[in-house]
Amino acid sequence: MDALIEYSPSLLAGAWVTLKVALVSVLLALVTGLIGAACKLSGFLPLRLWTMLYTTVMRGVPDLVMMLLVFYGGQVLLNLVIDHFGWDFIEIDPFVAGVLTIGLIFGAYFTETFRGAFLAVSAGQLEAGRAYGMSTWQVFRRILFPQMLRFALPGIGNNWLVLLKSTAIVSMIGLSDMTRIADQAGRSTHQPFTFYLAVCVLYLAMTALSSYGLGVLMRRYSAGVRETQV
């Protein structure tokens, strides 16, 4: 217990790293997902095929393999560029590699979420908007997007919870997230169980907090929806 108190500042610093990785990744994933959904719903066949390839590959390859490819392969590519321009050696940052990988993988999951949600908004609503004389952008901003978000929210929440847990693998490319801090602290104090359990508790706290926040958002975005009572 004393060891846990002694190491709690660095463990909390690690928790902050984990949270930062998760938050930046989810932002990247949300943007990628929106673009991906737009591509999948577009009338341009090559764009649709390309997005299909992207979502299939990203969801069919383990996140760790993808991360190692981005981290080690990215370094090789970076070296080539550096050699070509005669720059000084730049080392690829594990934070950037981790966020890029997780963001792009979950971008694929968000693509499917958003695609389904866009399709769930009834066409009559959009027609009504146009009948009121709204421009395409106004219809998108006032009608399509807010309602799409309502349908997408459960999926976004699920993906966020999975994403949060998959951040643990960034410890395997050397980023000092809480899993890696726990590993180091466990080795030096000979109490690995205590520290890994502490990491579990921190993850549980993050997921519990997220679930609460998502519940609040759900209530906000489903204002006016009457639930069916059986």
Partner: protein, 244 residues
């Protein structure tokens, strides 16, 4: 330096082959354990007695709320923290010495992890049993256990196939973390090949494609399973010239 040198892959094929075998074993055995342990646990999870249901709910909450990597490290590295565990290792205790083996620890952690998800999937599926089916079972004079065995569990197992196929695929991909505890699975083989030849693209793209192929095989198998066991839930096909 070439960016993609096929001879790196062909020269390391035996290593990849052993890695593939390890990945399949870990995934297969963990899923097998998880599936069969989930059936009784799902029944307990739905028990009206809260003293019975709560421990199972706590178990699934813990394992679904924390990363599998941390669970694996907790089991493998955490075990050595306990005095009695180390004493048991010294004494050569047949059960506790297993916790020194990375292979056993990976199976233990993966099995418990997939079991937790499967319990929730199956319990959700059991909750959706049509009420009339249970009433009919009661009317036939079946006991609660008989109704579970003959009605609730078989139909819940069928209905859980789509959700369970997701879990199987996630387990296959999740097993990639086995190399964190020195096991040489597919990803571990790729890491070895990378560090020996400094060839990240060959190593990781190749195993990535193998994982992708395995995922396709699983998706195909589950399509067949759905066709076989969920045919009665498929949308009805229009029959030409016969309307009722």
């Amino acid at each position: 330096m070439e960016l993609f040198d096929l001879s790196v892959i062909t020269g390391s094929l035996p290593q990849f082959w052993r890695g593939l075998w390890m990945t399949l074993q870990l995934t297969g055995f963990a899923l097998l354990f998880g599936f069969f342990a989930a059936i009784p646990l799902a029944v307990l999870r739905l028990s009206p007695n809260r003293l019975v249901a709560a421990p199972v709910a706590a178990y699934t909450y813990f394992f679904r709320g924390t990363p599998m990597l941390v669970q694996l490290l907790l089991v493998y590295y955490g075990a050595s923290q306990w005095e009695w565990m180390r004493a048991a290792w010294e004494a050569g205790h047949p059960v506790w010495t297993l916790f020194r083996e990375p292979y056993f620890c990976a199976l233990f952690a993966f099995g418990l992890n997939t079991c937790a998800y499967t319990v929730e999937i199956l319990a959700g599926s059991m909750r959706n049993t049509p009420h009339g089916e249970l009433e009919a079972a009661k009317a036939m004079g079946m006991t609660r256990l008989k109704a579970l065995q003959r009605i609730v569990i078989p139909s819940a197992l069928r209905r859980m196939i789509p959700a369970y196929s997701n879990e199987v695929i996630l387990m296959l991909q999740g097993s990639a973390i086995a190399s964190a505890v020195t096991l040489v699975d597919l990803t571990g083989a790729a890491r070895d090949v990378y560090s020996r030849h400094f060839a990240p693209f060959e190593a990781f793209v190749f195993v990535g494609l193998i994982y992708l192929a395995l995922t396709f095989v699983l998706v195909g198998l589950f399509k067949l399973a759905e066709h076989r066991w969920l045919a009665h839930l498929a949308p009805r096909k229009a029959e030409a010239g016969r309307q009722s």
